[in-house]
C-alpha cells in the first residue's frame, strides 16, 4: 500500500485542495478535522466547517476523522494569549498554535494513525538542501504564510508537506472549482480563529481580563480623552480612538503611539507620519532558528514585524541564545511588543523571535 499522508482538514478551500492534490499523486490520504476550541461561541464556525470538511472528503472519497485538541490549545496557546494581553501586549496566537497544536499535537496524532507525513494547506514550501530542511515562502507572494511557521524546526519540517505552497491562490480556487469542491468560493478565514471577526474582539477579551479604563494623552502629556482599557489597543491603531477635532491643529487622524502600563495611560499621536510612531531598533526574545543561526548573514538579513509586510532590510546587532537586537535600515511604523519578528534571507524563512521593546 502507498504511503499514508494525513491532512489537517479545516473545511476551507486550501486544505481541501491539499487533500485533492495528494490523492491525485497517489498517496493514501486521510483527513483529520481538529477541534481546538470548546464552547458554543456564536463566533466559532467549527460545526459549519466540519460539515464542509465532511462533504469535501466524501466527494474525494477520503476518510475524515476528528480530534479534539481544545485542552492543548487552551493550555499552550490561549493562556499565553490572555497573559500577553493582560500585559498590554499584542500576541500572535496563530504562530503558537502552529508550534503547539498543528505541528505537535496533530502531528503526533497523525503518526499514531500511521502517517508517514502530515500535510496542511499552508502557503509555504519545504525543501531539502544539504541534509537540512528549509522553509521557503509560498509561491503566491500575497498569501505567503511562512511568517506563521517560523517556530517550526527540523523535526516538524521533515515530517510535513505543503502541497499548495507552490501554487497561486487563484489557481487553488480554480482547482477546487474544477474538482467540484463545494467550498471553492468559501471566504478565507480572517482574524483570530476562536474570536472570529474583529468586531467581537472587545467583548471577548472582557470575559477573560478585568477592564481598567484610563486616560488618553498626547505625546506632550495633554489629556485628550479616555480609553476603555489598554489591552484593547494595539500600536499604530487608528480606528476606535474616539478623538474628535479640537485637540490638534489639523484634522489629521490620531494613532496609538505607546502604552504607559504603569500609569495606565494610552499615548496617541496625530498624523500617520508622526515621528513617535516610528522606531528603527527593537529588542526581541524567545529567538528560534529553523536551521542553525545564520551567523554569516546577520548583517544583511531582512525581517517582517507583521504578517503581510514587505521584508525590511535590517541587521541583527547583538545575538545571544534567547535574545537579539535588530536595527532596521529604515524606521518602522508601529513596532508592536508581543508580535513576532520573522527573519528572511531572500526567499527563505530562517527564524524569528517575539518583539519585546523598541527604541
Amino acid at each position: 500500500m502507498s504511503d499514508t499522508v494525513v491532512v489537517g482538514m479545516s473545511g476551507g478551500v486550501d486544505s481541501s485542495v491539499t487533500a485533492k492534490i495528494l490523492k491525485d499523486q497517489g498517496y493514501n490520504v486521510e483527513c483529520v478535522f481538529m477541534k481546538n476550541w470548546e464552547g458554543d461561541d456564536e463566533n466559532c464556525n467549527a460545526e459549519e466547517d466540519y460539515k464542509d470538511a465532511l462533504s469535501v472528503c466524501d466527494h474525494l472519497d477520503i476518510p475524515l476523522r476528528s480530534v479534539n485538541f481544545s485542552n492543548e490549545y487552551w493550555e499552550k496557546v490561549f493562556q499565553y494569549f490572555i497573559d500577553e494581553y493582560a500585559r498590554g501586549r499584542t500576541p500572535n496566537p496563530d504562530v503558537l498554535c502552529n508550534r503547539e497544536v498543528k505541528f505537535k499535537a496533530f502531528l503526533d496524532y497523525a503518526f499514531d494513525l500511521g502517517a508517514v507525513k502530515i500535510a496542511t494547506g499552508h502557503y509555504a514550501q519545504i525543501v531539502e538542501y544539504k541534509d537540512e530542511f528549509q522553509l521557503l515562502k509560498g509561491l503566491d507572494k500575497n498569501k505567503d504564510q511562512s511568517y506563521f511557521l517560523y517556530l517550526l524546526g527540523q523535526n516538524e519540517l521533515s515530517k510535513s508537506m505543503f502541497p499548495i505552497g507552490n501554487i497561486d491562490k487563484t489557481k487553488v480556487r480554480k482547482l477546487a472549482e474544477n474538482s467540484g469542491l463545494i467550498n471553492h468560493a468559501k471566504k478565507d478565514s480572517t482574524g483570530v480563529c476562536f474570536i472570529g471577526e474583529q468586531k467581537f474582539f472587545k467583548e471577548f477579551l472582557k470575559r477573560y481580563i478585568p477592564v481598567k479604563p484610563g486616560l488618553m494623552q498626547t505625546i506632550d502629556g495633554k489629556v485628550c480623552g479616555e480609553h476603555d482599557g489598554l489591552m484593547y489597543y494595539t500600536m499604530g491603531q487608528r480606528k476606535g480612538l474616539g478623538i474628535g477635532g479640537g485637540h490638534g491643529f489639523k484634522e489629521a487622524p490620531w494613532f496609538v503611539a505607546d502604552k504607559d502600563l504603569i500609569n495606565n495611560i494610552l499615548i496617541v499621536a496625530q498624523g500617520h507620519d508622526h515621528p513617535s510612531l516610528f522606531h528603527q531598533e527593537l529588542e526581541a526574545d524567545q529567538i528560534h532558528w529553523i536551521n542553525e543561526a545564520p551567523l554569516n548573514s546577520l548583517e544583511n538579513i531582512s525581517a517582517k514585524i507583521r504578517y503581510r509586510q514587505n521584508d525590511q532590510p535590517c541587521n541583527i546587532t547583538e545575538l545571544s541564545m534567547n535574545n537579539c537586537k535588530v536595527k532596521f535600515k529604515e524606521p518602522q511604523f508601529a513596532i508592536t511588543p508581543g508580535q513576532s519578528i520573522v527573519f528572511y534571507i531572500d526567499n527563505r524563512c530562517v527564524g524569528g523571535a517575539i518583539i519585546d521593546k523598541r527604541f
Binding site: 486521510e30 466540519y50 476518510p63 476523522r65 476528528s66 480530534v67 479534539n68
Partner: protein, 371 residues
C-alpha cells in the same frame, strides 16, 4: 463492510422497506383530508397505531407518533413548564436528549436532581426515594443505557414513583427489540421510542403515554395526534415504524438468542486472545449484544480509525453529535478512570451479524490492541 454499531442505528429491515415503498407509491393523501385519499392515509396510520399498541400491550390512543425518540423525550419534559411541580429526578447517565433539555427548561422554573449510578451504570432505588421533594413533578430514568447496555431496575423505581404518586417517564429507545417490553409490566406513565434503533426508518418515533397521564403538546398546529403532536403525519414512516415494532416483538426470542450467542462467542474469544480487555456495564443485567470494552493502553480514536480502514464499524462514547472525540461522561459517572475511558469502544451486534463476523472483529481487535 462489517457493521457492529446497531445501538447507533440499524439498517432498515427489508420487509419494512417494502411496505414503506408500497405505501409511498400508492397513498399520498393528507390524513386530515376527508376525501377518499385522505381517509385511506388516516386508516393506514390508525392501523399502524393499533399494531404498535398491540405489540407493547397498550391501547391505541396511548401511542403518539413523533419525529424521533428525542422529540418524545422533549415532549414529556417541556410539558412540565405548564405544571406546578417542576422538580425532576433523573439519572446522571441519561442521553443528552434528557440532560440538555433539562438545562434548557431551567429558565421556566424547572429544577432537577441527577441520581448517581454504580460502577455498572445502575440507579439505586434508595437514592430515588431520598431525592423526592415536595415539588417533584416527574421522574425520568432511562430503561437501558445506550453506551453500556445496562438495564435499570425500572420496576423498583416505578414502584417508588407510584407510592408517591409522581409521574414516571423512561427513555426506552435502547430497549425495544432487545428485551421484553410490555407497558403493563413496566407501569411507566411515559416511554420514548425511536424507529431506527430496531430496523425501522429514521425520522420517526413514538411516545407511549398512559391514558390518564397528562401531556401539554410541544408542537402546536393542526391538532394531529389528538392535539398532542401537530404536523402532517409521516405516513410511510409510521407504517415502517409499526412494521419494525411488529417484527421486533414477533421475533424477540429469536433475536435475543442470536444476540446472546454473538455476545458470548465474542467475549469468550476476545478474552482468550487479548490480555488487556475489560468489559464495562452490568455482567448480567444488560441487553444482549451491546458490549462496552476497554483496551488498556490503546486509544479508542486510533483504534476506531484502524478498524474503519478494515471496513469494521464500531463506536466510542455516544455516536450522536458532530463526531468529535471526548471522554464518555457515562463511563466517567460509572467511576471509570480517564485512561480506561478513552480506550473504550462500544460494539453492538445486530440481526445480520454472524459468528464469522465475530471472528473477523476479534481478529482485528487482537491485531490492533495487543501490546
Amino acid at each position: 463492510m462489517s457493521y457492529f454499531d446497531h445501538s447507533a442505528t440499524t439498517p432498515i429491515h427489508p420487509l419494512v422497506l417494502e411496505i414503506m415503498n408500497s405505501i409511498s407509491e400508492a397513498h399520498f393523501g393528507n390524513p386530515s383530508s376527508i376525501h377518499t385519499s385522505g381517509r385511506k392515509s388516516r386508516s393506514i396510520i390508525e392501523s399502524s397505531r393499533r399494531i404498535i399498541a398491540k405489540s407493547i400491550q397498550a391501547s391505541p390512543n396511548e401511542v403518539i407518533f413523533t419525529g424521533s425518540g428525542t422529540e418524545a423525550n422533549n415532549s414529556v419534559l417541556w410539558s412540565l413548564i405548564y405544571e406546578n411541580n417542576k422538580h425532576v429526578i433523573t439519572s446522571s447517565i441519561e442521553h443528552p436528549a434528557i440532560l440538555k433539555v433539562l438545562d434548557s427548561i431551567a429558565p421556566f422554573g424547572v429544577t432537577y436532581t441527577k441520581l448517581p449510578v454504580n460502577k455498572f451504570g445502575e440507579v439505586n432505588p434508595k437514592n430515588l426515594e431520598e431525592a423526592i421533594k415536595e415539588d417533584t413533578g416527574l421522574i425520568s430514568i432511562m430503561m437501558v443505557n445506550n453506551e453500556v447496555g445496562t438495564i435499570n431496575p425500572i420496576n423498583d423505581l416505578i414502584k417508588i414513583a407510584e407510592e408517591k404518586n409522581i409521574p414516571f417517564h423512561s427513555d426506552a429507545v435502547q430497549a425495544l427489540g432487545k428485551t421484553p417490553l410490555s407497558v403493563k409490566d413496566v407501569g411507566a406513565d411515559y416511554l420514548s421510542f425511536s424507529g431506527h434503533k430496531f430496523y425501522g426508518p429514521k425520522g420517526v418515533g413514538f411516545l407511549y403515554k398512559k391514558n390518564e397521564a397528562k401531556l401539554n403538546p410541544l408542537i402546536i398546529g393542526g391538532g394531529q395526534e389528538s392535539q398532542f403532536r401537530a404536523g402532517t403525519e409521516n405516513v410511510s414512516g409510521i407504517v415502517g415504524l409499526a412494521e419494525a415494532v411488529r417484527l421486533s416483538i414477533q421475533n424477540l426470542d429469536k433475536r435475543i438468542l442470536h444476540l446472546e450467542k454473538l455476545e458470548s462467542e465474542f467475549k469468550a474469544k476476545l478474552s482468550h486472545h487479548s490480555s488487556n480487555v475489560i468489559f464495562n456495564g452490568h455482567p448480567k443485567k444488560h441487553v444482549p449484544g451491546v458490549i462496552s470494552a476497554s483496551f488498556l493502553g490503546k486509544r479508542s480514536d486510533i483504534l476506531l480509525a484502524e478498524l474503519d480502514r478494515e471496513g469494521i464499524e464500531v463506536s466510542s462514547g455516544s455516536a450522536c453529535g458532530s463526531g468529535l472525540v471526548k471522554p464518555s461522561f457515562v463511563l466517567e459517572e460509572m467511576g471509570i478512570s480517564e485512561s480506561q475511558n478513552t480506550s473504550t469502544i462500544r460494539i453492538s451486534f445486530g440481526r445480520s451479524n454472524t459468528i464469522e463476523d465475530v471472528s473477523t472483529l476479534v481478529n482485528a481487535l487482537v491485531k490492533f490492541t495487543n501490546v
